[in-house]
């Protein structure tokens, strides 16, 4: 069994699986159940300032997007931060941390964008014995209308300012939670770093409308005939989250800044992917809300088994894929592949043919007896046939060995990698040929 204990910005937990700040971490009762189930830590649902708590809608808060068999692929919500009194939450946090000292207890906070407000709440949180705080700059609905949540997260200067205040008024590690509802995730991440953040966590939820009710013409979830955009999460957002995590991990300005990965983590594999792209741990919400806390057993066992199979320690996984995330311009254009169809595995559905013939490069032939074959002279190796084939590994991409001629271009595949930066069609390339495009097509093979 691989050692899953994690030290994330000084916060220790028995495993890298934390519950994200969300409904599952709103109360002592839930959090105790989570810790009993084996979760490594929680980020307590966002606390607001002292005084009358926020209120939530009294109609539906969640909307869902389903795949086959009502498998939940995406969830959105219009719930606000905790609607329970601050002192109740603080008391419960203290009790739970006292009873589970080995678990990570991070407290999410969102108060108005004023120094006094942050200065006021931080000592109260510190007094609970919590291990750290997470600044909620991500919540995209409701609170943002009041100048908090993503309204702060969308302005890098505010992020930097508030982060600095927090670092000034508490000894606890500060994690800044980022909203994906921006154009370039590197900017708020860099701002957090400048403000002294110990880490960033991302992504928070994405502005979304899951459905439109076509009878009453209102967005869902619908409250008395009206709807508001909610925050989207779950498996559907994972690719977006992975990309944003990788951007922060590889940008020179933010490289090395610890990241807590969030966004659709459902199985150990999702978690491992986030960590390979630079996340030091992951936070989970939708999967727990869909299946209950018991999923942590699969997460722990799965990650452990994977690490054992790879003979890798957990820290070796973190960031391991980051060097392989690059810009398009650096991709090797001499890496030439062709689709190959395994005729024994083929079930003759013809989806590859339809996809290629209708929407791509007419590189698959179909015979009267439904045999589908790749036409190498047309195949650009786009991978669409692989993606739409219902049979795993039936269609694969195979590399043309250096020295062979690509029948599509008539060019010999070179062993030496070559990318766009040196390509004769690139005006910025030292090899630029002004009429390169013409020559590229017509020049015969050597």
């Amino acid at each position: 069994m691989a050692d899953l204990t994690t030290d994330f910005v000084g916060i220790k937990s028995p495993n890298p699986f934390w519950l994200a700040s969300a409904p599952p971490t709103d109360k002592e009762y839930n959090v105790r159940r989570a810790f009993e189930a084996g979760w490594g830590g929680v980020v307590w649902k966002t606390l607001g300032a002292e005084g009358p708590p926020v209120v939530n809608v009294n109609g539906p808060r969640y909307g869902a997007v389903y795949g086959a068999d009502r498998r939940l692929l995406g969830l959105n919500n219009i719930e606000l931060i905790t609607d329970r009194p601050l002192e109740v939450n603080l008391r419960e946090i203290k009790q739970v941390k006292r009873d589970y000292p080995d678990r990570a207890m991070v407290v999410s906070i969102m108060v108005p964008c004023e120094e006094e407000a942050w200065k006021a709440i931080l000592p109260h949180v510190e007094e609970t014995g919590a291990d750290g705080i997470e600044l909620n700059f991500g919540c995209p609905h409701g609170m943002s209308e009041r100048g908090m949540g993503s309204a702060v997260g969308q302005v890098p200067e505010y992020i930097e300012m508030v982060t600095r205040w927090c670092k000034m008024y508490t000894r606890m590690p500060v994690i800044v939670k980022l909203t994906p509802n921006i154009t370039d995730i590197r900017k708020p991440a860099a701002a957090a770093k400048r403000g002294g953040a110990d880490a960033v966590s991302l992504i928070n939820t994405i502005n979304s409308i899951t459905h439109v009710d076509l009878d009453i013409f209102a967005p869902e979830p619908t409250i008395d005939g009206k709807g508001s955009h909610g925050g989207y999460c779950g498996p559907a957002v994972k690719p977006i989250a992975l990309s944003m995590v990788s951007e922060i991990a590889r940008d020179p300005e933010t490289h090395g800044l610890p990241i807590s990965g969030i966004g659709g983590v459902t199985t150990w594999r999702d978690a491992a992917e986030f960590m390979a792209l630079g996340a030091g741990n992951v936070q989970v919400c939708t999967a727990a809300m869909t299946y209950g806390f018991g999923i942590v057993k699969e997460l722990k066992a799965g990650l452990s088994r994977y690490l054992d199979e790879k003979a890798m320690a957990l820290p070796d996984l973190v960031g391991r894929a980051v060097p392989n995330v690059t810009d398009w311009q650096h991709l090797n254009l001499e890496y030439v592949t062709k689709a190959r169809i395994d005729q024994d595995a083929c079930i003759k559905c013809g989806r590859c043919y339809a996809a290629c013939e209708d929407t791509s490069h007419q590189a698959i032939s179909m015979s009267a007896d439904r045999t589908f074959e790749v036409i190498d002279a047309e195949c650009v190796a786009c991978n669409l046939c692989v993606d739409v084939c219902p049979v795993e590994d039936c269609i694969t991409m195979e590399r043309l060995a250096p020295g062979t001629v690509d029948p599509r271009t008539g060019k010999t595949v070179q062993a030496e990698p070559a990318d766009w930066t040196t390509h004769p069609n690139n005006p910025s390339s030292p090899n630029y040929v002004p009429d390169g495009q013409t020559r590229m097509v017509e020049e015969p093979a050597e």
Partner: protein, 442 residues
């Protein structure tokens, strides 16, 4: 089980009403919405899908399944009905395991095809339950077409002709329309009066008149029909059942399987329907299986299908054979009946084993039987003046017979398998040909 269960002879009430109700309920339960969505999601939407090619009526199966996925079973139903107006019955009785579902790529991939038949039923039931009939008639043409036989071929032909604006009169020898759908198919495949409900729904198109108890050759002649109408379509199916050619075939208990099935289908209260304790069915087709299984479901103690060739030669599909086996029907192969024993009433059937070339091996077996069902195929009741091919009405093209202005389709016509779905296709295609002829486009 009742006291009558163990009594020999042909008696009613071998099973109580609860057992009978259970035995004769739907063979396949209808899908609910979620089940249908899950089942529909398994369809790969194949390019030039093999299932369409395998369907005698060329239903665009991937399209209708996609319409179910997209939450519009009624739209799916229209896709089906456009090609096959009896799509509801075909969903229930088609041997899908040898047609669309056999061609399904998931059958090749994993031995579990998309359940096309059940999905088709879900779609067609949805539209019929809503009472929606999506077709209207073209302006009246003033042309009149006579159709003989209100079975699948005749009804499909009638609907398509009515849609094109022609007036249609359908003559049927029986008191109710539907043909084999009403009289010839196992009750558990089409329970709850579906056959009649389907006819009622089909007739909503308008322009179709039904005339019952009018049989060709008995009450009508082809000449009269041709004289009074612009075209005639013959879809009366097959009639007579051949005798086994044995002595004592007049013993009480010797019956035609089709008559037994027809009686069963018309019996409101199955506790009143007599059935033997021991039953032998001679034959190997769908009718043999329908008679055998239903006998068992009525409470017969032992039921044997006696077939003259190897089991893999049985005309009944593998699925039907398995259905018989799971209901406890014994399938005895390589045997032919050689003698019937009994005094007044049948007591035993004597069968001789035969080789592949039908030579008797000399070995015989005697089975207790108080009832014997002949299911050895039906014959065309000849119609004066029509060319015959292989015992059926010879046709060319879309069902044109040797007599001008007369078309034929379904079981009475040569060509195609004797299936409901084939009859529908032939009726539909003949209607298009008749329409082209009547409007000068042919």
């Amino acid at each position: 089980m009742t006291e009558a269960f163990r009594q020999t002879g042909i008696r009613a009430g071998r099973l109580g009403p609860d057992d009978l109700a259970r035995n004769f309920s739907d063979l396949h339960a209808a899908y609910d919405r979620h089940e249908a969505t899950v089942a529909a999601d398994r369809c790969y939407f194949c390019h030039d899908a093999p299932c369409i090619t395998a369907c005698p009526t060329d239903i665009d199966i991937p399209l209708f399944i996609r319409q179910i996925q997209a939450g519009q079973p009624e739209a799916a139903a229209q896709t089906i009905f456009d090609q096959n107006i009896l799509g509801g019955m075909c969903a229930r009785v088609c041997p899908t395991e040898t047609l669309c579902e056999q061609a399904c790529v998931r059958e090749a991939a994993e031995g579990k095809p998309v359940e096309i038949g059940r999905l088709q039923r879900y779609a067609t039931d949805s539209m019929m339950a809503a009472g929606e009939h999506p077709y209207t008639r073209a302006p009246a043409t003033g042309r009149k077409v006579a159709i003989v036989g209100a079975g699948p071929a005749g009804l499909a032909c009638a609907h398509r002709l009515a849609m094109h604006g022609h007036d249609v009169v359908v003559f049927d020898a029986r008191p109710k329309p539907g043909g084999l759908n009403e009289y010839g198919i196992a009750a558990y495949k089409t329970p709850n009066g579906f056959a009649q409900a389907e006819v009622d729904w089909l007739l909503k198109i308008g322009g179709i008149t039904l005339q019952h108890d009018r049989a060709l050759g008995r009450d009508l002649t082809l000449e009269e029909l041709r004289h009074d109408h612009d075209a005639v379509f013959l879809g009366m199916g097959l009639g007579g059942v051949g005798a086994l050619g044995l002595e004592a075939e007049d013993l009480t208990g010797c019956e035609n399987a089709v008559d037994f099935i027809a009686t069963l289908r018309q019996t409101e209260d199955l506790t009143t329907l007599p059935v033997g304790r021991h039953i032998v069915v001679i034959g190997g087709g769908m009718t043999a299986v329908d008679a055998a299984v239903q006998s068992k479901l009525l409470g017969a103690q032992s039921v044997t299908i006696a077939y003259r060739r190897a089991q893999d030669r049985m005309p009944a599909s593998r699925y039907e054979q398995d259905l018989a086996a799971t209901h406890g029907v014994q399938i005895l192969t390589h045997v032919v009946p050689v003698a019937l024993h009994g005094e007044g009433a049948l007591r035993e059937v004597e069968l001789a084993y035969v080789d592949a070339d039908m030579t008797q091996t000399g070995e015989t077996i005697r089975l207790a039987a108080d009832q014997l069902f002949r299911a050895i195929g039906q014959k065309l009741e000849t119609v004066e003046g029509l060319a015959i091919e292989g015992g059926k009405i010879a046709v060319t093209g879309a069902g044109r017979t040797s007599v001008e202005g007369v078309w034929a389709g379904g079981d009475c016509a040569a060509g195609g398998e004797d299936l409901t779905v084939t009859a529908v296709a032939q009726g539909r295609d003949a209607a298009e040909d008749i329409h082209a002829m009547l409007t000068g486009a042919g």
